[in-house]
């Protein structure tokens, strides 16, 4: 087990190198002069441009820029943005906000998906089951920004139940509205997956055996059925979590959440290479680690899945 974990963690290194190189190159290859754009419609003096370019090594060839960036990372220096702020500080400020938002959204969707998924499976074919299916389809069909704007307008502006934007109030309590919106966007797949997998498990011989042995329903469903239906659920939850960490940009923009999505968006617009590369690289690492966690969870859920060399 320990060697397995170690090997998986070591896999992060080539992923890290590959990802940074690729992203660095993509930002490098973007057309346009980011420093000139700092001056808006006004034309900056060329001498000043040169000076600022030199400060950010933008006058150097790609490989020099990239190696310099890598060297910085080894010293835990992720570079500075055009605003003079170290990227690591920006990251440390925005990452927890998005993490909170993603955890809340995934947790909400997860609990809702289990409760409704399992009850739908048990009540397969009833009106309840059909109704839940329709609701889930609605959630998949409507784009997240529509839900977001609607929620902001009706729940925030009209009814006043929530503050319409997050801003400075970005600890757990302030993120409810965007978290609910995001939860809806991932809920449907999770719920349908739970339902399908529960139905499948319910038909297994050993479930029948358990009933035959006289075990109570309240013991069979949570312990035997649920646990065995969990594997696809957990996989999906993990990848949804990764998607949310990266993809909350639209929601963060609408609700003014000071998270990574907003930062990454502006950094891309500004061609701020160190910021873009560092942010995306952290995403890659998070994604890899979440997948590792999922693989380890499989062993706990189903003892037949073991990681022995």
């Amino acid at each position: 087990m320990a060697t397995y974990i170690l090997r998986r963690i070591l896999q992060v290194i080539p992923v890290f190198l590959g990802a940074t190189l690729l992203i660095y190159f993509m930002v490098f290859a973007m057309p346009g002069d980011p420093i000139a754009a700092l001056f808006g419609d006004k034309q900056p003096p060329p001498q000043l441009l040169e000076q600022i370019r030199a400060r950010y090594l933008l006058d150097q060839p790609f490989i020099v820029q990239y190696l310099n960036y890598l060297g910085g990372i080894l010293r835990l220096d992720f570079g500075v943005g055009f605003n003079g702020q170290p990227v690591i500080e920006t990251l440390a400020r925005t990452f927890p906000v998005t993490l909170r938002l993603a955890i809340m959204a995934v947790a909400l969707a997860f609990v809702l998906a289990i409760v409704i998924g399992v009850t739908s499976a048990l009540l397969k074919g009833t009106i309840y089951d059909h109704l839940m299916l329709i609701v889930a389809l609605l959630f998949v069909a409507v784009p997240v920004f529509v839900v977001a704007f609607a929620a902001q307008f009706f729940l925030g502006v009209q009814l006043g139940w929530f503050k319409p934007t997050v801003g400075a109030d970005n600890d757990w309590g302030g993120l409810w509205l965007p978290a609910i919106v995001l939860a809806f966007s991932i809920y449907a797949t999770m719920m349908r997956l739970t339902r399908a997998s529960t139905i499948e498990t319910l038909q297994q011989d050993w479930v029948r055996t358990a009933y035959g042995k006289g075990l109570s329903r309240s013991r069979i469903i949570p312990v035997h059925v649920l646990r065995n239906s969990m594997i696809p659920m957990v996989t999906d939850t993990a990848s949804q979590f990764g998607v949310l960490m990266v993809g909350a940009t639209v929601t963060e923009g609408i609700f003014n959440v000071p998270g990574v999505g907003n930062q990454l968006y502006t950094a891309i617009i500004k061609h701020e290479t160190p910021t873009v590369v560092s942010f995306v690289t952290i995403f890659v690492v998070v994604y890899v680690l979440i997948n590792l966690l999922v693989d380890l969870l499989y062993g706990l859920l189903d003892p037949r899945i073991r990681y022995v060399k």
């Binding site: 000139a36 754009a37 000076q51 955890i103 909400l108 997860f110 312990v223």
Partner: protein, 540 residues
């Protein structure tokens, strides 16, 4: 049995853990509101995260500028109509077109107690001008004697201290409107403590303005900054409220939602999506008036068929083929004002009766005639395109303008989108762009020269179309050397009449400032630079 528990709790960790944490932490959710308890007449207003540390000479964008203007006082300040009032200055005398003497008021202090003296201005300007410091606004000092783009200059020879409260400014070329520029943020004074560690200072600046930072860490990045009244401030901008809570928004839509729900008192830009409805939604609490922003597109001379006599005819034809009035009403819901010159209605000296201004009016017949005249010189071929950055919401009007041109002149015309602003600017800067392109200008200070000199003078910094006309240059330099403002404006208007002939840029419209406020505040008035006069706002 034991394993079961482990398994389930492991799975539930992701789910329940989040819920529990959410529950625990939501209790203290209100504490991060940023309120400082100094008074309840704190006005909340929108802003954006400053792009740079808050150093006056390194801030050239609106987000940081709004904060700097509140926490610093310059020699002069601008009233809502762009007129000038002394703030720190006791007097500014223009001794000659290249020489000014500045006398400042005695006894004014920075919020750390240091007295404001002539030295604070000289040191701050020297810092801003030095090439090695790479300040984004360094070009504001290039008219001062001793300034250089080629080598680092520690001290400008044009700045001389006479006594503690007096200094002289010597310019390297005549600029009688220099005194008028001195209210811009690049010319603010800095306290001595700034030079000890400029970077740290930029995080938590100490100024001499009507407001000061509520605490040393009042600037919370990406979230906002809270300002309280500076009790020691003496000057024309006496705050009528207890402070400003400037909240940073990534999008105007979010800010507008906050305004509607009462979370925000003042919003200085209505988002595009709400332009159709804001007047109904805000009752009487809105403003929509021209601002000091001029929009145009430029057809560079090096494009085929756009040089010499032929080019002039074609430019005029294109200009007269555009229905500005209809486009500003349909595309912009009346939030642009059709241009009648090259400046802005909020600037003293603006005129809609310049000779030749009819070239900015929609006149399809005349446009076709002019185009035919140009065809007689050399027949038109190819298509006419206007380049724009598609990240800036320009597609609508570019399509409308090119449709208007295509329909009137019977030629092929269309927009040429660039994915982002940086990409467009690079091509424009390198002169590699092969189409016309959108251009614009937001005034640095309320003077006519600012709209003309930097843009159309031969070899000027922002002369994107490489326009050069000796007659225009001559009128411009006569105007800038004239000590009489009325006479100067007269000369600038004559210079513009040449521009209306040559059309180095095709004027389109002036941007309006559209803003709104909640019922909680009164006396909201927008200045010449589209920013509300925050100190005037009353609350409660």
């Amino acid at each position: 049995m034991k394993r079961n528990k482990v398994a389930l709790s492991g799975v539930a960790l992701l789910g329940l853990g989040g819920i529990l944490l959410a529950g625990c932490a939501s209790g203290d959710g209100g504490s991060s509101d940023g309120g400082n308890g100094a008074g309840d007449a704190i006005v909340t207003t929108n802003g954006t995260e400053p792009q740079n540390p808050l150093i006056p000479t390194n801030t050239n964008e609106v987000g940081g500028g709004k904060i700097l203007d509140s926490i610093f006082s310059g020699l002069i300040s601008y009233n809502a109509d762009g007129s000038v009032e002394n703030e720190v200055a006791e007097s500014i005398t223009v001794d000659s077109p290249t020489q000014l003497t500045v006398k400042i008021k005695e006894g004014l202090t920075f919020t750390d107690g240091e007295e404001v003296t002539a030295d604070n201005f000289i040191k701050a300007w020297n810092y801003g001008a030095a090439l090695d410091n790479q300040q984004l606004s360094s070009y504001f000092f290039e008219d001062i004697e001793g300034f250089s783009w080629d080598e680092n200059v520690e001290e400008l020879s044009g700045l001389q201290q006479v006594d503690d409260y007096t200094f002289t400014i010597t310019l390297n070329k005549p600029a009688t409107d220099f005194a008028q520029r001195l209210g811009y943020s690049a010319f603010y004074p800095l306290p001595d403590v700034a030079f000890e560690d400029m970077e740290a200072f930029g995080e938590s600046p100490i100024g001499n303005g009507p407001y000061k930072l509520a605490s040393e860490d009042a600037w919370v990045h990406d979230e906002g900054i809270s300002l309280v009244v500076n009790e020691d401030y003496e000057g024309p901008r006496e705050p009528q409220n207890d402070g400003l809570d400037i909240r940073f928004y990534a999008s105007q839509d979010a800010a507008y939602a906050d305004l509607l729900s009462g979370e925000l008192d003042v919003l200085d830009q209505i988002p595009e999506a709400a332009l159709e409805t804001y007047q109904d939604e805000l009752g009487d609490n809105w403003v929509n008036q021209p601002a000091a922003i001029f929009q145009s597109f430029t057809i560079p001379e090096y494009l085929p068929h756009f040089e010499g006599e032929e080019g002039v005819l074609r430019r005029q034809a294109i200009s007269m083929a555009i229905n500005r009035k209809e486009i500003t009403e349909v595309i912009f819901q009346g939030t642009r004002t059709p241009a009648s010159d090259f400046t802005s209605p909020v600037i003293d000296g603006w005129s809609e009766e310049l000779e030749g201004a009819e070239v900015l009016e929609y006149n399809p017949e005349r446009a076709q005639e002019l185009w035919a005249e140009a065809d007689a010189i050399s027949p038109w071929e190819g298509s006419f395109q206007i380049a724009y950055n598609s990240d800036g919401g320009h597609q609508g009007w570019v399509d409308a303008v090119t449709n208007s041109i295509a329909g009137t002149l019977g030629i092929d015309a269309s927009g040429a989108p660039y994915p982002d602003f940086a990409g467009l600017r690079e091509q424009v800067t390198n002169r590699t762009i092969t189409t016309a392109f959108r251009t614009g200008w937001q005034a640095d200070y309320p003077g006519l020269y600012n709209f003309l000199g930097p843009l159309y003078a031969t070899n000027a910094g922002s002369n994107d179309g490489d326009y050069s006309n000796p007659e225009f240059d001559d009128l411009l330099s006569q105007g800038i050397s004239s000590a009489d403002p009325a006479e100067a404006n007269e000369l600038f208007q004559q210079a513009q009449e040449i521009l209306l002939q040559d059309l180095p840029a095709t004027p389109l419209w002036y941007s309006n400032v559209t803003g709104g406020w909640a019922d909680t505040v009164d006396n909201v008035e927008f200045g010449w630079n589209s920013v509300p006069l925050h100190y005037n706002i009353t609350k409660g």
